[in-house]
Symmetry: C2
Subunit: 312 residues, 2 copies
């Protein structure tokens, strides 16, 4: 039996998993992400954790197929990162540096959103399919596109930046990226909160949402489930923007299934109900029957997808 | 030396090419596409033409790597076509049927727009790159997306349907596909003519376009080159829709280069001038420096890309 490691580097913790070559997750654990001094300790810490786990499990280098890794930044196929928002790294040759620290063990890095999509294709909401779009509705909107079983990495390592598709050419407010009308402005947790506050300010229509201490996507979808009419209007607007964006993406990428993940997806199946209608209305005929699924792996999507990078 | 065939099936003619394995095109010719009787003669005609060429060039089966083929329909990776608009075929197992007719020679089919994009990546406007988007501005708007050197085929063989991205959610006229606001309504030859007629009807502003016998994309861009202000307004509107659509596509697919082909592209570099500005305005930051190029292979893109399907 051979083994591999799946690593998911976040701004706070590095999640790590040891997998058998047949895909079984044997062990998972976390270490702290030490971002100080331009994040110089991050890769050495990972290398040390990998070596310690190998010693603990009495594994030798020859038994390790390699180490896959998701990073919160665009990363090219040859393992170059130009910049990171959360790790402290500027230009960094991730593959070369970590392979040296691991005495030549094979390292394959990828963008974290793309890698999570690969994980969901392998073991989660996209299981059984080779063409998958995953959209992650969190503080922002992230995404990953899987084409024929592999991550769409792109020329600059920036494939799958679904959150920055323009869905409203009339928007006047500016997105965090500097553009206007990005999907992220309507479909992220922050975006849903923004839609909710705008709707409530529009008129005096009664709504339980007027009583919440702090507006959030969760409050909106809880109110939707309770039948609140204003909340339903907000969810309808959210679903229109997201459904239309996904229809455009499907015309380009023709997925078998679209997987919805991230914190907002905890609302459950009701979320999909609001997305499917507008998707179908705007989809190219060949894509109208594209399936929708909720993500299933939660925080394990990253380590699973990372392992899949090396298991192929 | 080994050889392969690249075949491009159109509604009127089948274009055929014989290539060396190093990519050199040795010979090209055409046969008629016989679409009568549900197109039952098309594949046998192709098989006969291939065998005749092999006899003429004294080639034996063992010297042929295979036969790649572009079709005007979505086609899945396993060679299934569900329907064609122009060939008379309904459900057809293209790979199996043609491999039988060719005594087991390897056949790899693909959608014609995707295959043309692969050709342009290999030998044309996208040469030297592995991530390419090609958009073909003809009667309609077609497209092909090349990811890491391979066609994005998709789950239903319908990847790269760029013409049916929605670029105007306020549109009231219906596209040929049944939706409203598709890129094809603004950026095809027909779409540019429509924009021109709408602009001319809006007011009485003088323009040389008011004197043309039959409005066309060529007339519009000829007038642009002559400095006609109304024509420049029309080209600006065309460029805004196409540039914005390509910016959305680039956020998803992160190409190194976007290749513009089809009849409209005969207008030349001036066309790119109108696309680049709106693209850059709407592009995600990682994609702002994406290159633009005109297609270079004209009618040979299909046979070249088809050959590349088998040469890998």
């Amino acid at each position: 039996m051979k083994y591999c490691f799946g690593i998911d580097i976040g701004g706070t913790t590095v999640k790590m998993g040891l997998f058998q070559e047949d895909g079984e997750l044997l062990d998972k654990w976390e270490i702290k992400t030490r971002t100080e001094n331009q994040g110089e300790a991050i890769l050495p810490d990972i290398a040390q954790a990998v070596k310690a786990k190998m010693a603990e499990k009495k594994l030798v280098k020859e038994q390790i197929i390699g180490l896959g890794m998701g990073l919160p930044a665009p990363v090219t196929e040859d393992g170059i990162v130009q910049n990171t928002a959360n790790l402290g790294w500027g230009y960094k040759e991730v593959t070369r540096e970590l392979e040296e620290l691991l005495d030549g063990m094979k390292v394959i890095p990828g963008n974290d959103a793309n890698v999570a999509a690969l994980g969901e294709m392998w073991k989660g909401g996209g299981k059984g399919h080779k063409n998958v779009i995953m959209v992650t509705l969190g503080t922002g909107v992230g995404g990953g596109i899987i084409v024929d079983g592999k991550c769409l990495v792109g020329a600059h390592g920036a494939g799958g930046e679904i959150g920055h598709l323009c869905v409203n050419y009339q928007e006047t407010e500016i997105c965090g990226c500097g553009k206007k009308g990005c999907l992220e402005q309507y479909a992220s947790a922050t975006g849903i909160t923004r839609l909710a506050n705008m709707r409530l300010a529009k008129d005096e229509k009664p709504s339980t949402l007027r009583n919440v201490a702090e507006m959030s996507a969760k409050e909106v979808f809880d109110a939707v489930k309770a039948g609140d009419e204003v909340a339903i209007e907000i969810a309808t607007e959210f679903g229109k923007y997201l459904g239309h964006a996904l229809a455009n993406l499907a015309a380009a990428c023709d997925p078998a299934v679209i997987v919805i993940g991230g914190g907002v997806s905890k609302a459950g199946e009701v979320l999909l109900d609001y997305i499917k209608g507008p998707f179908k209305e705007m989809a190219f005929f060949a894509d109208k029957d594209t399936e929708f699924a909720l993500a299933e792996l939660a925080n394990d999507a990253g380590i699973c997808g990372a392992a899949k990078l090396v298991l192929k």
